[in-house]
């Protein structure tokens, strides 16, 4: 069983929420579910969509075609004509019948009197979306009780949940009774061990930060990173986490640096434009060796670009941001699970090496929901590196003591017998400003000596992961969220007996050279990336000399589809 459903309507019609509720019901049935949205940068009136891909096998991405179109308005009916599968159905309200009728040869027309039902039940017009998702569930003969539980748990106010559940039931019944016999795909809950959760990359990053012991979060809203702020503002206070929205991204990152200097784990998140404003302070963190974590959710640039659409175009920028040279971690998780665990890793690495660590995601990963087994938090390790609190036992504390690893013992203010002098200027071991040439060499080499140890540590952390046929001639490469469509593409290709490999880069800095050489040498390489220029290809060449042979690129703001990858592989293999 594999089904793809799209719910569409006007911005403000609750498209995303109802899509989420339906998807969540499927998740609760043990299915593997991926839900993603498509919306323009406006509050009301534009077209919004939520796409659900669900399967009884493990899936990782959206599908570009749909088995069910849930049309909350007329526009939705016609918008996806070219993306209907053979046995598709369209759910719509009778008021939009004239649009639907034109498609009678393309899809099963499932007319549900949503507006009437809403009126009869004295509900708000916007609640027609609950009727609609009820109908979608009914059409596939899914278990209504599970849908109901999802609805009830998704509205904070029980009375509201109840109404919506009632509305869904009405849509459910009509679809089940009048249409389900004509619709081929049936969805049934699975018997499966272990609870699943259904969450976005943003939420997973937020949870990872919480689990890592972050106590201070400051961020200025910016699509698509704002939900991290919303999530932490809502849930942080219960866990003693201070969450503030300061006056700008510049303030945010400088606050994070201040908090980290004072000894708490701290993070900020933003998108490219906000990160542009943070570049100067990123250098401050590096020079003062203050461990901070910055999460960046990319969107389409340049400049304001298309704020609600996805891209991977900030890679080279993030790798090279800020004046001067310093080592940094840039970590790009590929799905929600990785978002959680890699964020924890980022906090540990930042403190262990006293360098900035950047989590690099994109709108597609940040805002897509994925089902995943509930996170195992029993084994989380917190490694604060060479942190000194309470009292310094040595003789005379030097914040920038030159050591073999480049990492200096890090006391925090209030430590007895230690005066902690941090400095953005080049400095002596004590932290006093110095422009002495020998000192400069000593300090620059100290900071860069960390790199060797960072690489050693990274090499233990699966910085790049290989999937698929170990011997494949053709290896796809990609980073971050590209994992999602590629893994699904791999499955499709496998089902066609085409075997390729996939090397997924999670670390971009330091660059996992060993892994790249091990898996890519003497293979044909195909890059898959949401950019125009193919940045990872440049990076790979720079670090290893290896050249990418083929590219699957996309730069219209939409995520790459598994089928787009499959097609390109076809083209190449022939």
């Amino acid at each position: 069983m594999d089904i793809s459903i799209i719910i569409g309507g006007e911005a403000g019609a609750g498209v995303m929420r109802s899509g989420y509720i339906l998807a969540r019901a499927l998740v609760r049935g043990g299915l593997s579910v991926f839900g993603t949205n498509d919306y323009p940068s406006l509050i009301r009136g534009g077209h919004n969509a939520y796409m659900i891909h669900a399967s009884d096998k493990r899936i990782h991405a959206h599908r570009e075609n749909f088995d069910i179109v849930v049309a909350l308005n007329a526009e939705t009916i016609t918008r996806y004509v070219d993306q209907l599968t053979e046995n598709a159905a369209i759910i719509y309200d009778p008021k939009d019948r004239s649009y639907a009728e034109k498609l009678s040869d393309k899809a099963l027309l499932v007319e549900i009197p949503m507006m009437d039902i809403v009126k009869e039940e004295k509900a708000k017009p916007v609640m027609m979306n609950s009727v609609a998702i009820g109908a979608a569930a009914g059409l596939t003969e899914y278990d209504y009780e599970i849908l109901k539980s999802s609805i009830l748990d998704s509205f904070p106010k029980p009375e509201v949940g109840e109404i919506n559940a009632r509305l869904a039931k009405r849509g459910y019944d009509i679809a089940l009774e009048e249409y389900s016999s004509k619709f081929k795909i049936k969805v049934a809950p699975l018997e499966k061990d272990g609870k699943q959760i259904y969450l976005t990359g943003n939420e997973a990053v937020a949870l990872g930060a919480m689990q890592a012991g972050m106590k201070f979060y400051a961020a200025y809203p910016m699509t698509p990173a704002s939900p991290i702020l919303h999530f932490l503002a809502l849930h942080g206070p219960k866990y003693g986490i201070v969450v503030v929205q300061p006056e700008s991204e510049i303030a945010a990152i400088n606050m994070v640096i201040g908090a980290a200097y004072a000894g708490v784990r701290a993070m900020t998140a933003t998108s490219g434009g906000g990160f542009s404003l943070m570049t100067e302070a990123l250098g401050l963190a590096a020079m003062s060796e203050t461990p901070i974590v910055v999460a960046i959710a990319q969107r389409v640039g340049p400049s304001t670009g298309m704020p609600t659409y996805t891209a991977q175009t900030d890679l080279m920028f993030v790798l090279n941001a800020s004046q001067g040279e310093f080592p940094r971690f840039v970590i790009a998780p590929g799905d929600v699970k990785e978002c959680f665990y890699r964020t924890i890793e980022a906090f540990n690495l930042a403190e262990k090496f006293q360098v900035p660590a950047i989590i690099l995601i994109d709108k597609y990963l940040a805002e897509s929901h994925m089902s995943t087994e509930i996170f195992d938090t029993s084994n989380i390790k917190i490694d604060r590196g060479e942190l000194i609190t309470g009292e310094y036992k040595g003789k005379e504390y030097r914040r920038y003591e030159v050591t073999e690893t480049g990492v200096s013992p890090r006391a925090i203010p209030s430590t007895r017998n230690a005066i902690v002098k941090a400095n953005s200027s080049e400095h002596t071991e004590y932290g006093y400003a110095s422009s002495n040439a020998l000192n400069a060499v000593k300090m620059q080499e100290k900071r860069f000596r960390k790199l060797k140890y960072m690489i050693m540590e990274m090499d233990k952390l699966n910085p790049a992961i290989y999937y698929g046929d170990p011997q494949a001639e053709l290896v796809l490469i990609g980073w971050g969220s590209i994992k999602c469509p590629v893994l699904d593409a791999l499955e499709i290709l496998k089902s066609m007996d085409i075997s390729v490999g996939f090397l997924h880069f999670i670390y971009l800095s330091p660059f996992p050279v060993k892994y790249a050489l091990k898996y890519l040498k003497d293979r044909k390489i195909m890059l898959v990336e949401n950019t125009y220029t193919g940045q990872l290809a440049n990076l790979l060449k720079m670090h290893t000399g290896l050249t990418v042979d083929y590219k699957v690129l996309r730069y219209d703001g939409r995520p790459i589809n598994p089928s787009q990858i499959v097609e390109k592989v076809f083209e190449v293999i022939r």
Partner: protein
């Protein structure tokens, strides 16, 4: 109890002889000594400029940050560990040019820090360009035909930003400045002090201010009326007031933050149990 001498460091002082910064440094040290603060519990955050070197010259924790960002860094240090005394030092370029956008926010939040602006009316370290407080007409390296903008009024601005402690000091009046810094440290909330600081190299205003400044405290000034304080802020001529223009109490930023724990953040356990939260996501 710490002594003045113990507050010295080994760093070589590179301020010009006679620079007003020396008095500010001394006043700060005296305030720390007189209030009996422990050096390890004091943090000085400094911007970039001549003033920014102050951290090198005082044996307390210090963070020499980047140009204009003293306030966000200092604010967060305080939030992370409110047991620290956090004192920000900024230049007038730092505070009123590149960093002015942070002032209204630190003020309205009433972050419990001290903010001392070394107002020498010049970009000292970059060799004397115009700043937002340079008087109109003055010839500077970037305005060789005279400054052609009106300066800002830092006191009026701080008042309009609803700062809860608004003062002006003069580096030529060490005792008074020490008094101001002590009051500012004691103030629970955002304490702003604009210090008239002669720059002997690029704009030597010692005489100018010596002849004109007078202490508000000497005139029995009532610092609780914002409108009167605002009026006073525009007194700038033969007589220039120094002292505390305005001072009220209100909850600090930390007091207002939902969920701020019972102890400083820095003392909180890093391990938390997310089970409940994860269950919400099923």
């Amino acid at each position: 109890m710490v002594t003045m001498n113990q507050l010295n460091t080994k760093a070589r002082n590179t301020w010009c002889p006679g620079c007003g910064n020396f008095a500010i440094l001394t006043a700060l040290k005296k305030a720390i000594v007189e209030l009996d603060l422990k050096p390890e519990n004091v943090v000085v955050v400094t911007g970039i400029g001549c003033h920014g070197k102050l951290g090198d010259y005082i044996n307390v924790n210090s963070f020499h940050v980047i140009h204009g960002r003293v306030l966000p860094v200092a604010s967060a240090i305080k939030l992370a560990n409110y047991e620290l005394t956090v004192i920000g030092h900024a230049g007038d370029g730092d505070a009123y040019a590149i960093g002015l956008g942070h002032l209204p926010h630190a003020a309205r939040r009433n972050v419990d820090i001290v903010y001392i602006v070394h107002n020498n009316m010049t970009f000292g370290l970059t060799t004397g360009q115009v700043t937002p407080t340079t008087p109109r007409g003055l010839k500077t390296r970037s305005t060789p035909y005279g400054v052609f903008e009106d300066p800002i009024n830092p006191i009026a601005l701080a008042l309009a930003c609803d700062a809860t402690f608004v003062a002006r000091g003069f580096a030529g009046d060490l005792n008074h400045l020490t008094y101001l810094i002590k009051e500012a440290i004691k103030h629970r909330g955002f304490a702003f002090i604009d210090v008239l600081q002669p720059c002997v190299t690029f704009y030597n205003t010692y005489q100018f201010f010596r002849e004109r400044t007078y202490r508000l405290e000497d005139e029995g000034w009532d610092p609780t009326n914002k409108v009167e304080a605002f009026k006073k802020a525009y007194e700038w001529g033969d007589r220039i007031p120094i002292g505390i223009f305005y001072r009220i109490e209100k909850p600090t930023f930390r007091d207002s933050i939902p969920g701020y724990p019972k102890q400083p953040l820095v003392k909180e356990d890093l391990k938390i149990d997310l089970t409940d939260l994860l269950n919400l996501l099923t």
